[in-house]
Every structure is written in structure tokens, then in C-alpha cells.
């Protein structure tokens, strides 16, 4: 998986390319842990993301919780497979997906 970060002031955008699964979820988790400190708004760009498994969902949930007291987190450019994962697990009810 490739992780690309773009910072605009207190807004951070993270673009993911590849697969967010058991082996790659810890990379994203590590990246978020060291980046979120002063970030007020987090955008995750999934246009290059092929799929997500439950290991990835866990990381998204903790990022969502971390951003709740700030400007929030949104996910953009979600493909069909990822959208279906969000829907069947109920994640689509809580995450902001555009």
C-alpha cells in the first residue's frame, strides 16, 4: 500500500493506494498516530484503494474517534467494493463518506 500525505494548514489529506488489510493496516495506523497531533480536519482519499478488510476498519474507527473532538474525518472517492464493506458492517452510518 502507498500512503501519500498532503498538509494544508491544519487540514491533512491522506491518499491510499493498494489494499488496506491485515498486513498494511498497521502502516496506516502508525502514520495516523504520528500525524494527527495538530490536525483539525482529516480527509482520506480512497480513489486508489482496491479493498478494505476488517483490519482496516479497526484503524478507521480509531481515527474517527480521534477526530471526533476536532473538525472530523471524511472519506472521499470510495469504490463499490469498499462501499459495500462499509454498508454491511454499519460503518456507513457513522463515517462521513462523500
Amino acid at each position: 500500500m502507498k500512503i501519500t500525505k498532503t498538509q494544508h494548514g491544519s487540514a491533512l489529506e491522506i491518499a491510499l493506494e493498494g489494499r488496506l488489510d491485515t498486513m498494511t493496516a498497521p502502516e496506516l495506523e502508525g502514520e495516523l498516530n504520528k500525524s494527527l497531533g495538530d490536525v483539525q480536519e482529516l480527509t482520506l482519499d480512497f480513489s486508489g484503494l482496491e479493498y478494505i478488510s476488517s483490519a482496516g476498519l479497526r484503524v478507521l474507527l480509531s481515527a474517527h474517534k480521534a477526530m471526533m473532538s476536532k473538525g472530523g474525518m471524511k472519506i472521499v472517492h470510495v469504490n463499490d467494493v469498499v462501499q459495500e464493506v462499509f454498508e454491511v458492517t454499519g460503518f456507513s452510518d457513522i463515517l462521513t463518506i462523500e
Partner: protein, 135 residues
């Protein structure tokens, strides 16, 4: 059935996925079904790697079979680890607010929702889990 036997460790998820992807591509599988099968591999193989062999590493075999007539693909995971039926796990209560429920158990739930069938049996000392998906 085409099979691959590897050590049941998380580091082998990519090679198992690549093996199945190669077979699915040769079968002209839709990209969506392939991605869903890849997610199922991640969930199921990681379960085997984490829980099947508490006393040290063991082997796991992943096989693939295709029923041409129905375009039904079966992927079979087997191991000689402790008997464990992942389908017997209680489904997460998805009506509860997400923040209030444990995220564990989501993986197998996801597999059940995205595959056409999931079956478990314990036979000759092996856990055998089969997923079926029309491709």
C-alpha cells in the same frame, strides 16, 4: 483442485492472495468478485495464522476449484490446528451504535455477507473452511 501449502503466518497472506488472484484471472473473474474473495482470504487466513497453532507454527493449505456450469468458485482453507468453527462465532449486533460495539467478529461477518456460501467442517483432524462465490 489447485492447492498451495504454506506456513500459517500472517506474512504469507500476500502469497496466498497472489496465488488465488492468478487462478481467478485465468477464470475471467469480475474485478469486484475478485476483490471480495481477496478480503475473505485476508479475514480467514489471518484467523488461521493467529489462532490455529498456539504451540508454534504449522501449515495451512488453500485450494481453489471451479464449477464451470454455474461459474461457482470455491476456495478451501484447511489446517491441522486446534478445532475451531469460526461460523459459530456470534454475529456482531450491527444495530448497536458502532462506537458501542466491539469490532471483533466483524471479519467473519463480512465474509458471510459477501460470499454466496461459507461452510465449515472438521474432518480427519483438519479444520476445513470453504467459501463459494459466483464469479
Amino acid at each position: 483442485m489447485k492447492e498451495l501449502t504454506v506456513d500459517a503466518v500472517l506474512e504469507n497472506i500476500p502469497s496466498v492472495t497472489a496465488f488465488i488472484d492468478g487462478q481467478l484471472e485465468a477464470l475471467d473473474c469480475s474485478m469486484k468478485a475478485q476483490m471480495q474473495i481477496d478480503v475473505a482470504i485476508d479475514e480467514l487466513f489471518s484467523n488461521i495464522a493467529r489462532y490455529a497453532y498456539p504451540d508454534g507454527p504449522g501449515k495451512a493449505t488453500v485450494g481453489i476449484e471451479f464449477d464451470e456450469e454455474n461459474r461457482m468458485c470455491s476456495v478451501v482453507f484447511s489446517d491441522e490446528g486446534i478445532p475451531f468453527d469460526p461460523l459459530a462465532q456470534q454475529a456482531p449486533d450491527t444495530s448497536l451504535p458502532l462506537m458501542d460495539r466491539p469490532v471483533g467478529g466483524l471479519g467473519i461477518f463480512l465474509v458471510k455477507k459477501t460470499m454466496d456460501a461459507v461452510e465449515y467442517r472438521h474432518e480427519n483432524g483438519r479444520n476445513i473452511l470453504t467459501i463459494r462465490k459466483r464469479i
